[in-house]
Subunit: 419 residues, 2 copies
């Protein structure tokens, strides 16, 4: 009998072998595969719902919250949504094989860079079972093999979804190991996966900060991740107040529980007295609790005094930290000190300040006169999002299909040798 | 009194702060800085040679080999070479601020990707003291701060070079912490550096496989590295024999001790009887020891029988593993199994096979009719080389200045909010 570790090691090795086949598949075969997977999920919805019921029942017995149970739940409509997401991935352009640049050397060698799959990707995620299909589809479309490891609450749902998708691989004579799911909920399985640097090229953890820290601390494989989003908006002295209000309201309240929601508002001193009472009234009317520095609180008596912890906070709820800054330098200093490298936006009508903000703020998304909520793969035009990176390597910011590839050098010669 | 670890932690933190200043420096300031550093090194050559003498003396007492002592040695001419290398880096185009792409979204948002420095880079290297200046120059030119940790044999040489370069930073009122060198040779210093993920964005180890494995196993920071180069050439049935011979000789013998030298030769069965005796005679005449599979050895009685270990070997000397393969599939299967993702070249005059090799072999450099020795940042036109990556993330293959940067998303809006 094999141990969990041995089982995971052999899954990773088989995934590596399957990745060589995946890398050579034509775009049309990959698209047919994804279309067939979508149809298979819809066809298997009764079976999926039955397995999902087992997870829901176990969750109820474990006392999961209503919100958690809702995230876990699959019905006909949600399965249709998962299938549609696969069809959307099928419709995206295939990044593999694109020659992103090509140049000629003095010795007439033609040197270029061609996009290739990363190889084998490990995805470690928490409760929602749709990730099993979504993440797998993106990895496969980019020509990779994928090893999935979902949360224990969704184990039966994840396993049935993976089985349905593998059925399509088998029908199409693609190695089933191109998509595998670790069938163990023990931590030993994750730890074994994180050590397979010979077989796995990249780990993407998706979940809460503690999951991500666990993965980073235990992985010998490169990890792409973000811990949190402390997004800032800076209202410059030259801001159009209507635009500023619209953008702040949207950034803070349209969906407060996500990583690209606004957490800290910075206001230029020159417009503090005029703008702050107005935005404070609007936000208070929308149920937003305001925590300000001394100057902000003098203008907004209902606000509470912010502490150092507020400048670091990712509230993910209707609370906003607010601070008056002397000028652009003050805003940039605050951002450099407290930001999480996620998303920052300036509201301004001054050309020079817009350009300076774009140039000098080095978070993964830097915006002018736009809602922080646009920091999203779909919204930025990447087609679909596999995750967001605040690791300043490989990919920085929302990641799409292209971020699941790398480039190799290609060289066309005619007998050249080195002198 | 602070411990070594505390000292390294505070160096890394100061480097992080300095990186914010480095990121904003104009191209002309960075170029003046590098020119001034080159002049300062030349001006300080007597001092550098004196410190280098201390390292050489210690090396002799420790019994270092003549080759090692030669690698360590600095004289007026070599210091001039280091200074010239800095001037070459000054002459390279500045990658920072380049907008690599920009597109418009349906809501009129303009979304682009702009190149920014990585931030703070840690370089861990072995004996040659020129790396202190070369690697620092590339990191600084790309707008990064750098923390260096050289080998113990060169500690005095490295320290004096770093001090000279820091003197220029001070004169120009750039924070000296933008370039720092860990002044300890104890392992504790490296281990502390590898844990500073809050301050350091990337670790580049340069040295032997054991150094690199040590870094990978102990780092919480992303590492870009390559372990070894097992480079292949495949002589297709349609190869021009003159070109094939010229390229094989160059790839194997021009500089056998480097990672882009040829280690395994694969020959198509259809031309084995005709080509192998010819290339074997040429290589034997150049002092190359040949180790072949059964078929190769039947054609070349002086060759010895290769074992499994030979297909994995990075000889770095005048030994070549040789194998007859049935066809293109056989060649690609062999490469997939044994290659180190470094460099592979096909010699062919067949259009379809050239294209198939380019498409299907996913090493970091894939070539047609060219010497593997071109797998080099300078030769490929990157201007200068900071290292070679066989990690399939961020950069894959020879790395230049651009590989010391990442890209952020930039978004130009006019009040857009998300529906």
């Amino acid at each position: 009998m094999t141990t969990i570790s041995e089982h995971v090691v052999s899954m990773a090795q088989e995934a590596r072998r399957a990745s060589l086949v995946m890398a050579r598949l034509s775009t049309s075969v990959k698209n047919s595969m994804l279309q067939a997977m979508a149809a298979a999920l819809e066809r298997s919805s009764a079976e999926i719902i039955a397995e999902n019921d087992r997870d829901l029942e176990a969750g109820r017995q474990k006392g999961l919250s209503a919100a958690m149970l809702d995230r876990l739940m699959l019905d006909e409509k949600r399965i249709g949504g998962i299938a549609d997401a696969l069809r959307e991935v099928a419709a995206l352009a295939d990044p593999v094989g694109e020659v992103t640049r090509m140049w000629k050397r003095p010795n007439e060698l033609m040197v270029g860079k061609m996009r290739i799959p990363l190889g084998t990707i490990g995805i470690i995620y928490e409760s929602r079972p749709n990730v099993t299909a979504d993440a797998a589809a993106l990895c496969l479309k980019a020509g990779n093999a994928v090893v999935l490891r979902g949360g224990s609450e969704a184990i039966n749902s994840n396993m049935v979804i993976a089985r349905v998708l593998q059925g399509v691989l088998k029908e199409m004579a693609i190695p089933e190991a191109a998509l595998s799911l670790i069938p163990f909920t023990e931590r030993e399985g994750v730890l074994a996966l994180l050590k397979q640097e010979q077989s796995i090229d990249l780990i993407i953890p998706r979940g809460g900060e503690s999951l991500i820290r666990f993965v980073v601390e235990n992985s010998r494989i490169p990890v792409i991740k973000h811990y949190k989003g402390v997004c800032h908006i800076f209202v410059d002295a030259s801001a159009d107040f209507d635009k500023a209000e619209r953008i702040i309201v949207n950034s803070k309240t349209q969906r407060p529980g996500v990583c690209n929601a606004l957490e800290t508002l910075l206001i230029h001193r020159d417009v503090a007295a005029e703008f702050i009472p107005r935005i404070a009234a609007t936000l208070a009317g929308l149920g937003v609790e305001l925590r300000g520095d001394g100057e902000f609180c003098r203008l907004v008596p209902t606000a509470t005094e912010a502490t150092e912890a507020d400048w670091h906070a990712e509230y993910l709820e209707l609370i906003l930290a607010c601070r008056v800054v002397d000028d652009m330098d003050g805003a940039i200093d605050h951002i450099n000190r407290y930001c999480s490298l996620h998303t920052e936006s300036i509201i301004t009508s001054d050309y020079g300040r817009a350009q300076r903000f774009i140039r000098e703020v080095n978070s993964s998304c830097v915006m002018v006169n736009a809602s922080t909520r646009f920091a999203d793969g779909g919204q930025l035009g990447l087609g679909a999002e596999i995750g967001i990176s605040t690791t300043k390597l490989h990919s920085f910011g929302p990641m799409g299909l292209e971020d699941l590839t790398t480039t190799k050098f290609i060289v066309y010669g005619d007998g050249q040798v080195r002198e």
